[in-house]
Each structure stands twice: as C-alpha cells, then as structure tokens.
Symmetry: C2
Subunit: 322 residues, 2 copies
C-alpha cells in the first residue's frame, strides 16, 4: 500500500551514460556531477523541444530539482512521480510549472488516480474550486476505518505493519508528512502560494514518542498503547454525532490543514473502507454534492501507469497540426 522505496533512476533517456548510483537510496551522483548533468541537459535540449522527449523523475529526493528546472528552462517536458521537487521552495514550484502544458505530476497524488488531471480539467473549464478534502494515505485510511469498528488503535497499527501497509517505522505514516506533501501540491495547484510551514499538520503521536526520543521497537511495544485511550474517546465522540474520524487533508479558503477530522458517516469520506484513497472536490458545479474520485492510491503498478499516461498525454504537444 505504501509506495516501496524507490531508488533514484537516471531521468532519461535510459541509454544515456550515467555515473554509477551511490549506495544511498534516494541519492544519485548524476545530480552532483556537473559534467553528467550538462550532458543530460544537452540531450534534453536537442531532442526535447522537437521530438517530445520527456524527463521522468521517479526518484524520492530533492536532489533532482535543479536538473528539472534547467530542463524546463530549455523547453523540455517533465513528468514527476517524485513529490519533493514540487514541495520545496515555492519559487521552485513556480519555475517547474511555469510552462504548465509541459509538466505532468499525476502520480505525486494518489498514484494513478486521476486527481491532478481532474482538478486541472475543472480549473480549465472556468469552474472555481472552493474546497478539496481527501484521504490520501492508504495506511491511515485503513487505520481509521478499523478504528471505527471499535478496535484499539495500537492493535490496528500493529496489524497494518504486519500486513506491510506501513513504513518500517509506522511513525513515518502516523506523522502525516506524506499526506502534507500531497496536500501542498494540491493547494499550490489551486493557486495557494504556500509552503510546508503554512500547513497545520496534526501528528497522531506526540513529540515525546517521536523518533528522537523513542526507538521504533519501544514505540511499537509500549508507546502506541499510550495513544489508545484518547483515540478511542475521539472516535466515540465522533460516533455520538453520527460522524466518523478520518485522517484528511483539507484545502480551502482557510488554507490547508492535515489531520483528524470528523466527517458525516454517509459522505464519500465517511463510507471509505480499507486502504483506498478518496478525494472530494467541491466547486460551483459540484457545490452541494462533490465530484468524488476513489481507488487504490499507491503501489508500483498504479504509480507507473500514472507516469505513463502523463507521458502519452504530453505527446499532444508534438503532433503535426498542419
């Protein structure tokens, strides 16, 4: 359910000479080697503007951002599954999307689910988007729907870990930072000129149970159980109001929030079971009843499918028109 750790791959083309990878995952010498970088940019410039060569970034590192910005400067098309270049400095985001028709990043939010494509279509149609609310972590979606059935938080998280649904340290999911990155991409897509610092992210564990204070083993054995009571109380309080708890991102006129939220039991978010992602989009056309997109929001296959669909989509730019 969580995307498996992806190694940094040389963007493209595959046959291009690339220095050997360093051992560290998420780090590739290409981006530190000026000569290699300049050769990638040269190839991208020569081929990219006329043939539709697309630079694809499926890494999970900030290290690619300068290469990507150079490529965009040279008129090259870019497809990202990597969230990091879009969630750093706002100026970097602005530069990367400066030629919006030449960049696609569907797989950064909900893997292959057509979330970015749909929001982009709605914006293009002149229908103003007022609010986007989403459950964008399969792991936290699973945890929240299990909690609804009266199970203990600590047990549910341990089960999720044993099923391979969580990162090796479940706090990487419970902290909400991955959801916050997706939320930031959506918020920026909707025109909010904000950064991670502007997002209120609610972590599901307190700082005294954080990685700096407690080892993963201790967190699993004795830390988690300390959270059971407050989670149970919150779930019960929600239930008494006909609601359920979901870990959501919410982007609207009040900015961008990430955390637990009570949602009506019979809404798309409230009906969510298991590990699917779900996104509700509210606009003038979809005002009282939102446009809803739901499905598996992680996994290698769906991520790759989203990247490939983006690449194919960009080829419209390179059709002979006359």
């Amino acid at each position: 359910m969580t995307r498996s750790s992806r190694t940094s791959a040389p963007p493209s083309p595959p046959a291009f000479p690339c220095p050997p990878y360093s051992a560290k995952v998420g780090h590739c010498q290409l981006f530190q080697n000026p000569e290699a970088r300049s050769r990638v940019i040269d190839a991208a410039t020569t081929l990219g503007r006329t043939t539709g060569l697309v630079l694809v970034d499926c890494s999970a590192t900030y290290d690619t951002v300068n290469l990507l910005k150079d490529a965009v400067d040279h008129g090259c098309c870019v497809v990202l599954a990597n969230k990091k270049p879009l969630t750093g400095a706002y100026e970097d985001f602005q530069k990367l999307v400066s030629n919006f028709r030449r960049i696609r990043f569907e797989s950064t939010v909900g893997a292959g689910l057509p979330v970015i494509a749909s929001v982009t279509r709605i914006i293009a149609s002149g229908d103003p988007v007022s609010r986007v609310v989403g459950s964008l972590s399969g792991t936290l979606g699973y945890v929240m729907s299990e909690l609804e059935d009266g199970k203990r938080f600590s047990e549910v998280v341990k089960t999720a870990k044993s099923l391979g649904y969580t990162e090796p340290d479940p706090r990487d999911d419970l902290g909400g930072m991955d959801v916050a990155r997706k939320a930031l991409i959506l918020a920026r897509l909707l025109g909010q000129q904000i950064s991670m610092d502007n997002i209120n992210v609610e972590s599901l564990y307190p700082s005294e149970l954080g990685p700096d204070a407690v080892s993963t083993e201790d967190f699993l054995e004795s830390g988690l159980v300390q959270l059971d009571r407050s989670m149970e109380e919150r779930a019960k309080a929600a239930s008494s109001r006909g609601n359920v708890l979901r870990y959501v991102c919410e982007i609207g006129s009040a900015g961008c929030q990430v955390g637990l939220k009570e949602v009506p039991k019979d809404s798309a978010l409230g009906r969510l079971r298991g590990s699917d992602n779900v996104v509700e989009i509210y606009s003038r056309c979809y005002e009282s009843s939102p446009l809803v997109i739901q499905g598996a929001g992680a996994g290698n296959d769906t991520t790759a499918a989203g990247v490939l669909a983006d690449v194919i989509d960009l080829q419209d730019l390179f059709q002979k028109t006359a």
Copy 2:
C-alpha cells in the same frame, strides 16, 4: 437533473452566417443546406488546422454527423456533448475517432464528470480495462435509492417527475435508451465494435404500457401502479441477499448490458444515494477494488464545463513546440 432539451446551435464560429433555425427542436437547416454546410467546412478547413478552431456540437440530433465527418476529414478538431453522432452506425463512430487526438466527447457520458478522460488515461497507460459498471442516469439512480427505502415504485417515479427529475414522459427515462447510448459510447471507447442492436436494454415498463399503447397521463395514473408489485419483489429479493437494485450499464468481456442489477450494498454503486452518477472502472491496476468516479452527471453547468475543458484540452495540439 435531466439535460434540458437543447436546440441545435450552429457549431462555430458564432459570427458565421447560418440559415434560420427551423422550429423543430433538434433540427437545424444548416445540415440540410449544402451551400451553408460547405461554407462551414471551408472556414473549418482554413482555420481549424492551424489555429485550433474547434467544431462544438451541443445539439441532440443525428443531423450533424455528416458535417462532423467532413470536418474530421479536413483535420478539424471536434468536441461533442451530442451523443447521437457517436451512437449511430459503427462506421460513423470509427470515422469520427479516426484521429483520436482531435476529438473529445467527455460531456456525452456523465456531463462534466471525468469518465471518458479517465478511461482514456487508463487505456493510454497500457492498463487493460476489464469491466466498467455505471449508474449513468440521475433519474434512475434517484428512483432506485428511494425504492431501497421501501417506497413504492409508482410513488417514487411521480415524486421524481414533480421534482423535475424526469423527462415530461417518464418513460423516456424508464426505457433506458439514454443510458444505453452512454453505454455504447463507453463500449466503443473500450474497443467493442458494436451497435445499439447488440446491447441488451431492459426497459422498466412492458411494451403494453409503452407510448404507442398508453398516453402519458394514463401511464402515470393507472400504468405505473401495475409495476409496483414486481419491483417490490425484486427489491426485497435483492435485500435478502445483502444487495440492492441499481439500474446500471455493464461493459465487459460478455459485451454490453443495460438494466437492473443486484449490487453489493457496500459497493460504490450500492452506497449511491440521490441523483449522482457513479462509474466503477476495473482494470489490471484496479482489479479487486475499482477506480470510482462519482458526482452530478447531468445539468447545463456541468455539461458546459465538460465541453469547455475538452476545448482547452485540445489546445495542446496547437502549442508551438520549438
């Protein structure tokens, strides 16, 4: 909820001299007047191949099909909200989509909902679509979810009519032909070389209560009530199996069917309430749990927004690439 009767409008450009409309809705003399037609095609040819002029058909008539085919032949882009040209002879469909990058028809299925765009993305990504199941009539979606609450079929249909949810003669909705047209477009998009004759369409009223035998008034006053018992029995039988009845189209390896189907109460289709459309897309990536798109599937605003998004999308073809 049902799209209001749309008059045939001259496709484009608005300033182009067009013969006066005939009084009959769904019929425009433009398409019968060889001189006017040739002038539209001339303009389309001159402007369409280089400037991105798009021929937009928001009528509800078959009469436009030859004009559209000529336009496609001349390399012009086409956007359709009109289902009819895509649901006639298979050869017409084939000709219209022969340059698939130059045609868009999102608003023919689910108005502005990104159904066609999403199916096209999945196909482009190489992910084979195995099955599409959808509730594509807001009217019948409303009727079926009310029926689930134990209400009488005849009462629900009359309420739907009084709310303006149905066509003036509700049999236009209950017969399923509008759903069948949408199903045919989806089936053809998925590669099925079929026509309306190949679709098994279940009507919710028998032929002895059809428009040839019974007036609208008589149908509403004494015809509808004759259907209550069998509908109640079917709804109860579904309920006894943990299912609910939905009026769906289903496109899969067994072809294309339109009619009542029992679906699990906890599926996206089963959870549907009110007049939203919902489409479940099953593919290799979305095998056990489908990709679901849900929202208002009719209405002037959403239809217009879908058309406009299609027009904007086509403009990628006319970007200077070098």
